[in-house]
């Protein structure tokens, strides 16, 4: 029979060293016991000796040391033996940690959870009280009673959080102290060693009482997360009983009291707002006969457009952007995810392809007016993503009203339709890209139309060769744009 002596109740390093020696010496769990501090070991126990340096190095799964560290913090007196038994089994059953239904693994999981929870509750429920100390100045001291041996395990958290303070956490078994530089552990303490009060507690209790909503009494939900065993050292818990007792009456009072008349201040506010509202013209909508007099006015009116259902799930109307007298209008299909967020056309991935092609052709985008056939993003929700959905003929037809306003107000020399939807919107009938692409089509005696692909078509092509070919074709179309409207040239 062997015995390993550990320095303190959560002496993980001591346990690990002893376990290593025992394992290398092939000592089975039945033949090993542990004792803490001055506690007497069994009568005939021998001390563990350093192992033979030639003994094979035992291996453990990566997750085991972290698990064992927590097991050693548990209040169970059998924890050291249990952790060694687990280690012993792991030498023979490699996948053991993955068998969640194994009795030992279940027990380990429960113990680990209890320790984690106790440690977490310590982080949450420690309450410091401040005292002025002649030597060290402001000193924060707490009295806390953990249910497992979690002080060493949890104290580094407080050191990281309250690095700029000098603090001490007193517990019955161990004391943790931070002097502003270094964490040390001292023997246990008693409650009377902690300060009896703190000025801030009255305010904390005020906050606790005021943040409580008496109409939502859920006492069980509270005690599940803040078990009564922790209440003794939390000043606010003194309020729980009176708050619960008064909850029903407080709710009843709120419901029974008739609403009062609005305040004078409120009436004055409303008068002021009403005056402001009458002095501002109401925003005219889509349905009005009167055509907008400027692109700016059209943009403002389109922001409130609800002519088709696409407005509802979208963020905003994405109207065209560019000079009012641009010689060219580029028309895309509809805004995408990024455009919907930014409120501007062609800023997403397709916008990048578009920008590259313009740059390659030597076109200055800021000289052109860029817009879409449909001005709200149509999509299908898929968790945290939005999948682009093609606008239907009805939506294109309704939104064409806005495109017509843009065309009429800007009166460009050339309209470039990017993709079939854009071509359909401009021509008022559906056409194929194949039949219309790269040709200058007269729309009226002033404006011509050029149809090409939508840049997202290039993005979607699977293989690089096709991508390169289509990029070139698209750039050639852009070159034709510049040839037709030389004012667009950069510089």
């Amino acid at each position: 029979m062997f015995n390993a002596r550990l320095a303190f109740p959560a002496d993980f390093d001591g346990w690990r060293e002893a376990a290593r020696r025992a394992l290398k010496g092939q000592i089975p769990p039945e033949a090993l016991s542990f004792s803490v501090g001055e506690e007497a070991p069994g009568l005939f126990a021998e001390e563990l000796l350093p192992p033979d340096p030639g003994a094979a190095q035992p291996t453990v799964p990566k997750a085991f040391p972290e698990l064992a560290r927590k097991l050693i913090c548990h209040a169970d007196p059998d924890r050291f033996d249990f952790a060694y038994r687990l280690l012993w089994r792991l030498q023979r059953e490699k996948g053991l940690l993955e068998i969640a239904s194994d009795q030992d693994i279940l027990r380990a999981a429960e113990m680990e959870k209890a320790v984690r929870r106790d440690s977490h509750k310590m982080k949450a429920f420690v309450r410091f009280r401040e005292i002025e100390d002649a030597e060290i100045g402001r000193h924060s001291v707490a009295w806390f009673e953990p249910f497992h041996h979690t002080v060493e395990y949890t104290a580094p958290f407080f050191a990281r959080r309250f690095a700029g303070m000098v603090w001490t956490i007193l517990t019955p078994e161990r004391t943790a102290h931070w002097n502003g530089e270094e964490l040390t552990f001292l023997p246990g303490a008693t409650r009377d060693m902690a300060p009896a009060d703190d000025d801030m507690e009255a305010l904390w209790l005020t906050y606790y009482a005021s943040i409580f909503n008496p109409a939502r009494l859920k006492v069980k939900a509270m005690t599940a997360e803040m078990p009564k065993k922790y209440w003794a050292n939390m000043p606010e818990t003194a309020l729980i009983k009176p708050l619960i007792a008064g909850a029903e009456a407080a709710t009843r009072r709120m419901l029974e009291t008739a609403p009062t008349l609005p305040t004078l201040r409120d009436e004055r506010l409303k008068e002021r707002r009403a005056m402001k509202a009458t002095s501002m013209p109401a925003a005219p909508g889509f349905a009005e006969d009167a055509a907008p007099q400027s692109v700016a006015e059209a943009r403002e009116r389109a922001a409130d457009c609800r002519a088709c259902p696409l407005w509802e799930p979208a963020t905003q109307t994405v109207f065209g952007k560019g000079p009012d007298d641009a010689p060219v209008i580029f028309v895309g299909e509809q805004p995408g995810d990024q455009e919907d967020i930014a409120g501007e056309p062609f800023v997403g991935p397709a916008g990048k392809v578009f920008d590259q092609a313009l740059a390659a052709a030597g076109i200055d985008r800021s000289q052109a007016y860029v817009t879409n056939a449909v001005k709200h993003f149509k999509f299908e929700p898929r968790g945290k993503r939005r999948i682009h959905a093609k606008p239907n003929t009805g939506e294109i037809r309704i939104c064409r009203w806005w495109l017509d306003q843009e065309r009429a107000l800007i009166a460009p020399k050339l309209i470039v339709a990017l993709g079939a939807t854009a071509a359909q919107a401009v021509l008022g009938k559906s056409v194929t890209i194949k039949a219309t692409r790269s040709k200058l089509i007269d729309l009226d005696d002033r404006t011509q139309l050029l149809v090409t692909v939508h840049p997202s078509y290039i993005l979607r092509l699977p293989d690089q060769a096709a991508k390169d070919r289509e990029t070139q074709a698209f750039q050639a179309d852009m070159a034709l744009v510049l040839e037709t409207v030389p004012e667009l040239a950069v510089g």
Partner: protein, 415 residues
């Protein structure tokens, strides 16, 4: 007006803040004061420092800078037409209180909101001043959540995001129509644009995976929002449609559902009832199913009366009861996706089942050890020594799951 002392102001301004459900302190970038020798840390998961008898966690000091407000939102305790007591904190007072509470380990940080005074920009500027002072003057590394004002200037939002761990804008109502009816000064479009703006900023500051030097984080804990449930006639389907839209459009970290709760000096236009807490609970469960269990909204709400979820059983069980043809599921063979659809199996239990069955063929006893309650699971699975036989299709199955005392599960009206 009588002069209020500090304690009275705290009582008013925390009472005014309690209708905001969020108190989360999670999701922040890991950070501590070890090097700065200041005060504060955030380590990813949040900490609840106390619980009130309403079962809600108290993690952050949740207060309003002021409850004076020029808006008149019917559902809000601080609406301009209400006669509640009004108070206002100075920036310095909020900073001092936050530090004092934090040093005593009462809180994880600050959740600051405010009524709108003077203008949106003025109010936002005051809130940003609090965050700036905490970070730059007090060397504070704890959690800061700021409630942003939708039409405040982008420059202010930008600064807010650099100091705060989380920003949020409340969507308030499930539909734009009810929002404009109950909150005449609020504009749903402004709220959406603001959320879109925040999403763009958060993504821009997140940087690319391959970036060597990451940009400074912007609202690292993401953005969240809150919807009030039960103040209008919207159905659960309306509520979840809105959530689905917000998660997809703006990548929100969380949508909070807040059962409409009677407020002091309530408007006569609102329901006079206890808050629909069970409905709120079911909505959270449905939200979880959409985010972590691979359920589509339509699957969850289909079959419910008038687009409402079943109050008596949880939405996953309700779905399984409606789709019994998909069960029983073989726990030894089914894929993760299908296991997640078994009532009574959570993400943790499924993980443990998948891990264990690589080494052993599972019996019913094994499954019982890995989940909370085998009674709920049993009718929907087969295991090595178990087959539910006719139990899966048994007519009384739903009734066996409805807790006796809970019937009927409708919310009790007080009058």
């Amino acid at each position: 007006m009588p002069v209020l002392d500090f304690r009275q102001k705290l009582a008013i301004l925390s009472d005014a803040a309690k209708y905001d459900a969020s108190c989360a302190s999670s999701g922040a970038a890991g950070r501590n004061s070890a090097k700065s020798k200041g005060i504060g840390s955030t380590e990813g998961s949040g900490i609840c420092h106390a619980y009130a008898p309403d079962g809600r966690c108290i993690s952050l000091l949740k207060i309003l800078l002021t409850n004076f407000c020029v808006y008149d939102c019917v559902y809000c305790i601080n609406r301009s037409s209400s006669n509640v007591s009004r108070a206002r904190f100075s920036v310095e007072e909020v900073v001092a209180l936050t530090m004092n509470f934090y040093r005593r380990n009462y809180i994880e940080g600050l959740f600051l909101s405010s009524g709108i005074i003077k203008s949106s920009d003025y109010t936002m500027e005051e809130m940003v001043r609090v965050a700036r002072k905490l970070r730059l003057e007090e060397n504070f590394s704890g959690y800061i959540h700021l409630k942003t004002i939708p039409d405040a200037s982008p420059a202010l939002l930008e600064e807010a995001g650099l100091f705060a761990d989380r920003l949020s804008v409340n969507i308030e109502m499930p539909t734009d129509v009810t929002l404009s009816a109950l909150a005449p000064e609020k504009d749903a479009r402004d709220i959406r644009r603001s959320m879109g703006h925040l999403r763009a900023k958060i993504e821009e500051h997140r940087g690319e995976k391959r970036d060597r030097t990451k940009p400074r984080r912007f609202s690292a804990g993401g953005q969240s929002t809150q919807m009030i449930v039960g103040a209008d006639q919207s159905s659960d389907d309306d509520v979840l449609t809105r959530s689905e839209n917000l998660y997809g459009n703006y990548r929100l970290s969380r949508v909070y559902y807040s059962a409409f709760s009677p407020i002091p000096d309530s408007s006569s236009r609102l329901p006079l009832a206890k808050p629909p807490l069970m409905r709120e609970h079911r909505l959270y469960q449905a939200d979880w199913l959409m985010r972590f269990y691979g359920f589509q909204r339509a699957e969850i709400v289909s079959g419910g009366e008038g687009g409402m979820l079943d109050l008596a059983v949880d939405p996953k069980l309700a779905w399984a009861l409606r789709n019994r043809a998909s069960f029983p599921v073989d726990v030894n063979r089914a894929d993760r996706e299908m296991l997640l659809r078994v009532p009574g199996l959570g993400t943790r239990a499924v993980k443990r089942i998948l891990s264990t069955r690589r080494h052993r063929t599972l019996r019913l006893d094994d499954v019982a050890r890995l989940c909370q309650s085998i009674a709920k699971v049993r009718p929907f699975i087969t295991a090595l020594d178990w087959s539910p036989g006719g139990l899966t299709d048994c007519a009384g199955l739903r009734e066996s799951f409805v807790p006796k005392a809970k019937r009927p599960a409708s919310q009790l009206e007080l009058f």
